[in-house]
C-alpha cells in the first residue's frame, strides 16, 4: 500500500458535511482509488457534532481507520472532537470564522465561507471550498479535481459547475500559500489509482438495489433509523419501476400488509430496526404459519428500547432467531459489506419463496450508512426463482398446504382461476381450514421441521480467510467482517498464525466447516459488536463448542482494525 489517507469532515447536523464527504469520495473514486466511508451522527436534526470519515487507498479497504490525516471542521467541536486522532503531519482545516485560538502548526484556518460567497456567490459552495482546501494540502493536481467536479456537477449545468470550480480553485490557492505545516501526503505526481470499482454504494442502498433486482413488488415500512434510507431508496424509484411502496401507520401494519401482498402473489418486504421488528413479531409468526414468504430487513442499533437510535450494534441475532411464539423454520442472513448486501438480498427473496418461510436480513447502522466503491453491478441477467408454484389452470382439489415429501406445498394465489386458496394462522389442514386434530397438528409441525435440513443445504458455508491450520481463529459474523479482516491481514503480515472464520448466513447455522476449523485451532476468539457474544452463544447452542475468548464492543461505535488488534494483544495474540 503506498497510499492510505483518512479524511474526517466534522460539523453540526445540517451543515452539509455529508456533501463534502461525497465530493471527496467521488473525486477519489473517479481517480481510481478505493474508498471506505463511515457516518457518525447524533439523533438530532440540526446542531450537535457529526462527522463523516473517508478513507482512501490504492488497495481495497474494508473499514475505517483510527488515524486521521486531514480533518475538515465546520465547528469548533469538530476540531476538538478528533484532533487526538490526527497523525503526525496531519492537518486541520477549518473556517476562519470559528473562534479557535489555540493555533498549532497543523491548524489551517481558511476563509471557506467567505470565499464561497465572494467568489461563488453562494455560501452553499462552502462545500467546494472545503474540497479545494483538502486537495490543496494534499497537493492533489487541480486539473484532475476540476475534471471530476465538472463530471459531478454535470447534470446541474454550467451555471453550477463553473462557480464551484472557481471557489475550489480560489481556496486551493489560498491554502497552498498559507499552509504552514507539512502534510504526510504529497499527491502532486498523482495520475490515478488502480481501482476499477466505480459503483459507490452504501449498505442500505445495496439492500434496496438487491430487492429491486429480485423483483420486489411490495414494500410497506415505517421509518426507523438506521433502516429508513433503504425504504426511501425504493420509494424514490417506485414510480419509474412500478413498485408498491407505502409508508404505514406502524410496524404491525407494515409486516401484515406485506404478508397480504405476498399471499396475493407479489414479492414483498419490509425494512425496520429492532424496535420496529419487535412490533412485527406476531406478524412473523403469521407469515410462518401461513407459509407466506416475506423478507424483513432489520438495520440493528443499540438497544433495548430506543437505545441509541443512530449508532451501531449487532444485538438482535438471538432475538430474531427465536422471535415469535411457537416454533418454525426461518432464515437469517447478515451481509458483511454492501456488495454482499446486494447479493444476499437477491438470495433472500429466492430463499423465502423456495422454502416459503420468512427471511430476515440483519444489517446495522455501520453497514447501513457505510459507503464503499465496488465493481459495477450488472442486474440485466438476474434470474429469480419463485419456488414451487401450482400448475396454472383449474384444480378444484387444490390444497395450499398439501403434504409433500419435502414439506413444501405448491403455491397458488387468490385470484388464480379455478382454485380456492385458503390459509389460516391457526393450525390447519392441508386445505387451509382450521383443525384441532392432534394428528393434523403433528403432520403440520413435521412439515415445518422438514424444511430445516433443506434450508441448511441451500445456505452458504462460512468463509475462511488465512491458513486453515492457524493457531488462532477469529470468529465473526455480519458487518464486523471488515475491520477484523484487516486486522487479520496486518497480524498475518507480522507473522501471527491467525485466520478468520466468517459467517454471513447465520441461521440456521451450518456447522461442518466450523467444527473442522475449531478442531484445528489452538484457540478461537469471537469478536462481536454486542455485549453478550450472541453468535458465540449460537455456535455453542448448535455445536456445544466453546470459544476461548470473547471480544465485545458495545459503545455503539464501529470497530477498526486498530481496535481489534489492541484487544487481541490484550488477550495475548501477537
Amino acid at each position: 500500500m503506498t497510499m492510505d489517507i483518512t479524511f474526517n469532515v466534522g460539523g453540526a447536523a445540517g451543515q452539509g458535511i455529508d456533501k463534502i464527504g461525497d465530493l471527496l469520495t467521488q473525486i477519489f473514486v473517479k481517480a481510481g482509488f478505493y474508498t471506505f466511508t463511515i457516518k457518525d451522527f447524533e439523533s438530532r436534526i440540526r446542531g450537535g457534532y457529526n462527522f463523516t470519515q473517508i478513507r482512501v487507498s490504492d488497495i481495497p479497504v474494508y473499514a475505517s481507520n483510527d488515524e486521521i490525516d486531514v480533518i475538515v471542521a465546520l465547528t469548533r467541536a469538530a476540531i476538538v472532537g478528533k484532533r487526538d486522532q490526527l497523525v503526525e503531519n496531519g492537518v486541520i482545516i477549518f473556517d476562519d470564522s470559528i473562534d479557535f485560538t489555540e493555533l498549532e502548526q497543523c491548524h489551517l484556518p481558511l476563509p471557506l465561507e467567505k470565499t464561497a460567497k465572494e467568489v461563488g456567490g453562494d455560501t452553499r459552495m462552502t462545500n467546494s471550498a472545503a474540497l479545494g482546501a483538502v486537495l490543496s494540502v494534499l497537493k492533489y493536481p487541480f486539473e484532475m479535481a476540476s475534471e471530476a467536479l465538472e463530471a459531478i456537477f454535470q447534470k446541474k449545468g454550467e451555471k453550477v459547475i463553473q462557480p464551484n470550480i472557481k471557489v475550489a480553485r480560489a481556496i486551493y490557492d489560498i491554502a497552498r500559500d498559507h499552509f504552514q505545516g507539512e502534510c504526510s501526503h504529497d499527491l502532486s505526481t498523482l495520475r490515478g489509482g488502480p481501482s476499477e470499482d466505480k459503483l459507490v454504494l452504501s449498505g442500505n442502498r445495496a439492500i434496496a438495489f438487491g430487492a429491486l433486482a429480485a423483483n420486489v413488488k411490495w414494500i410497506s415500512s415505517y421509518p426507523m433509523s438506521p433502516s429508513t434510507s433503504a425504504f426511501q431508496d425504493i420509494v424514490s424509484v417506485a414510480h419509474t419501476l412500478r413498485i408498491g411502496a407505502f409508508q404505514t401507520e406502524d410496524e404491525l401494519a407494515s409486516l401484515t400488509m406485506a404478508i397480504g401482498a405476498s399471499f396475493a402473489g407479489a414479492r414483498s418486504m419490509v425494512t425496520t430496526s429492532g424496535g420496529g421488528f419487535s412490533l412485527m413479531v406476531e406478524g412473523l409468526g403469521l407469515a410462518a404459519m401461513t407459509e407466506t414468504p416475506v423478507v424483513i430487513y432489520n438495520a440493528q442499533r443499540p438497544g433495548p428500547a430506543t437505545g441509541l437510535p443512530t449508532r451501531t450494534e449487532q444485538s438482535d441475532l438471538l432475538f430474531m432467531a427465536h422471535a415469535s411464539q411457537g416454533e418454525f423454520p426461518r432464515i437469517l442472513l447478515a451481509p458483511k459489506d454492501p456488495l454482499e448486501g446486494f447479493n444476499i438480498t437477491v438470495r433472500a427473496f429466492d430463499l423465502a419463496e423456495k422454502f416459503q418461510v420468512p427471511v430476515m436480513i440483519l444489517g446495522d447502522q455501520y453497514f447501513a450508512d457505510s459507503v464503499m466503491n465496488i465493481p459495477r453491478i450488472d442486474v440485466t441477467g438476474i434470474k429469480i426463482d419463485r419456488g414451487k408454484l401450482a400448475p396454472r389452470g383449474s384444480d378444484r382439489e387444490y390444497k395450499r398446504f398439501q403434504l409433500t415429501e419435502d414439506g413444501i406445498s405448491p403455491r397458488a394465489f387468490p385470484g388464480d382461476v379455478g382454485k380456492i386458496v385458503v390459509a389460516a394462522g391457526n393450525t390447519h389442514r392441508e386445505d387451509g381450514h382450521i383443525s384441532e386434530d392432534p394428528n393434523v397438528r403433528n403432520e403440520m409441525v413435521e412439515k415445518f421441521m422438514k424444511k430445516t435440513p433443506q434450508i441448511l443445504d441451500a445456505l452458504n458455508p462460512p468463509t475462511l480467510e488465512g491458513p486453515p491450520d492457524a493457531e488462532t481463529t477469529l470468529l465473526t459474523w455480519g458487518t464486523v467482517w471488515g475491520p477484523v479482516f484487516e486486522a487479520v491481514n496486518i497480524l498475518a503480515a507480522d507473522g501471527v498464525s491467525i485466520n478468520q472464520l466468517h459467517f454471513s448466513d447465520v441461521f440456521p447455522l451450518k456447522t461442518e466447516r466450523l467444527m473442522a476449523i475449531f478442531a484445528q485451532a489452538k484457540r478461537v476468539i469471537s469478536i462481536e459488536q454486542n455485549a453478550t457474544s450472541q453468535f458465540a452463544r449460537l455456535v455453542r447452542m448448535e455445536t456445544g463448542l466453546n470459544v476461548d475468548k470473547m471480544i465485545n464492543k458495545y459503545d455503539g461505535r464501529p470497530m477498526t482494525a486498530g481496535w481489534v488488534i489492541t484487544r487481541l494483544k490484550e488477550v495475548g495474540v501477537q
Binding site: 473514486v29 473517479k30 466505480k198 459503483l199 459507490v200 454504494l201 442502498r205 438495489f209 429491486l212 433486482a213 423483483n215 413488488k217 411490495w218 424509484v237 417506485a238 414510480h239 419509474t240 419501476l241 412500478r242 408498491g244 411502496a245 404505514t248 401507520e249 406502524d250 404491525l252 401494519a253 401484515t256 400488509m257 404478508i259 397480504g260 401482498a261 405476498s262 399471499f263 396475493a264 407479489a266 414483498s268 406476531e282 406478524g283 403469521l286 401461513t290 466503491n373 442486474v379 440485466t380 441477467g381 438476474i382 387468490p414 385470484g415 388464480d416 382461476v417 379455478g418 382454485k419 380456492i420 386458496v421 385458503v422 390459509a423 389460516a424 394462522g425 391457526n426 381450514h433 382450521i434
Partner: protein
C-alpha cells in the same frame, strides 16, 4: 357466476345455535351470488374470534389472520391484485380494540375494501369479556359490578366517517334481506366501506339480545341524504333509544390504489420490474 352450491361450507360450523353470525354468513353467501363476481376473485380476510371463523364456513379464497390485523393484510392483498374483491370480517374486539388504528387509517386512505364488523358487544370466543362496543355499565367477567364497564363504547362509525371512510352503514343479522343489500353495496362500493352488523351473541350477551334489537332497530328514513359528513355523524351518534339501520354516509373519492405506483395495466403482483431501467438507476451511482 357463483351459485350457492359453490359456496358450500368446507367444514362444520362451530357457532352456538341461535348465534347472530349465522345470519351474517347466509347473507354474505346471498350477496356474493347476487353480485355475479367470478368465484376466484373473492378474497375473505378475517381476524380472530367467533366472527373470524367465518371463512371456514364458505368456500372462497380466504386468509384467517391475527387478532386485530385483518385490515392491513387485506390492504396488501388488494393493492397487489385489484381484481380481487377483498372483504374483511372481524369481531368488535378485534377490529375496535386491537385493530382500531388500522381501521381508521384504512378509512382515511379510502382503501377499496369492504369491512364487516360483527358487533356482538362482547369478546365471544374468549368467553364473554366486555368488548369495545359493550355499553357503559355492562357487566361481564372482566367488568364486574360496580360499576360494570366504566366507559363509553367506541363510537367507531362516527370516527370512520370523520376519518374519511366513503361508505358507512349499519345492518342487523336479524334482517337478512336488508343485510344482503347493504353487504352487496359495500362490496360494490369503490373505496373504504364499513358496515356495523348487529349480531346477538346468545351465549354471553344478555343485554344486546335479539329482542333488544328487534325492538329498537328501524330503517333510516327514505329522505335521509347520506352525503353530508356532519349530518351522518349526527345520525350515527343518535341516542340509543332507537337504532337506525341503513347507509349513513357515502361519497366518491380517490382510493389509495390510485395514489400508488401500481402498473397502469395489469396487476402489481404480475408485474416484472424492468431490469434495464433498474440498471440505469444503478448506473447513476457508477462514477466513470
Amino acid at each position: 357466476m357463483i351459485t350457492l352450491k359453490d359456496l358450500t361450507a368446507p367444514q362444520k360450523v362451530t357457532w352456538c345455535s341461535g348465534c347472530g353470525n349465522f345470519g351474517i354468513l347466509s347473507s354474505l353467501k346471498k350477496a356474493l351470488v347476487s353480485l355475479e363476481i367470478p368465484h376466484h376473485e373473492i378474497l375473505l380476510v378475517s381476524g380472530i374470534g367467533c366472527s373470524g371463523k367465518l371463512p371456514h364456513y364458505i368456500n372462497v379464497n380466504s386468509i384467517h389472520t391475527l387478532h386485530g390485523r385483518a385490515i392491513p393484510v387485506a390492504t396488501g392483498a388488494h393493492l397487489v391484485n385489484q381484481d380481487l374483491k377483498v372483504i374483511v370480517h372481524a369481531g368488535d374486539g378485534d377490529m375496535l380494540g386491537e385493530g382500531l388504528g388500522h381501521m381508521l387509517h384504512a378509512a382515511r386512505r379510502n382503501v377499496n375494501i369492504a369491512v364487516f364488523v360483527h358487533n356482538n358487544g362482547v369478546m365471544g370466543l374468549t368467553k364473554g369479556q366486555y368488548s369495545p362496543l359493550s355499553p357503559r355499565g355492562y357487566i361481564s367477567v372482566t367488568s364486574p359490578p360496580p360499576p360494570g364497564v366504566p366507559m363509553e363504547p367506541v363510537s367507531y362509525l362516527a370516527m370512520a366517517i370523520a376519518s374519511g371512510a366513503t361508505f358507512v352503514a349499519r345492518a342487523f343479522s336479524g334482517k337478512t334481506k336488508h343485510l344482503v343489500e347493504i353487504m352487496s353495496k359495500a362490496i360494490q362500493h369503490k373505496g373504504f366501506a364499513i358496515v356495523d352488523i348487529l349480531q346477538p351473541c346468545v351465549t354471553w350477551n344478555r343485554q344486546l339480545t335479539w329482542d333488544y334489537y328487534n325492538d329498537k332497530v328501524y330503517l333510516i328514513e327514505d329522505e335521509y341524504e347520506p352525503s353530508d359528513k356532519i349530518a351522518a355523524i349526527e345520525k350515527v351518534m343518535e341516542s340509543n333509544e332507537r337504532i337506525p339501520l341503513g347507509v349513513f354516509f357515502q361519497a366518491e373519492k380517490p382510493d389509495l390504489a390510485s395514489g400508488l405506483s401500481i402498473p397502469i395495466d395489469g396487476k402489481l403482483k404480475d408485474h416484472q420490474t424492468s431490469l434495464s431501467r433498474l440498471q440505469d438507476i444503478i448506473d447513476r451511482f457508477v462514477l466513470e
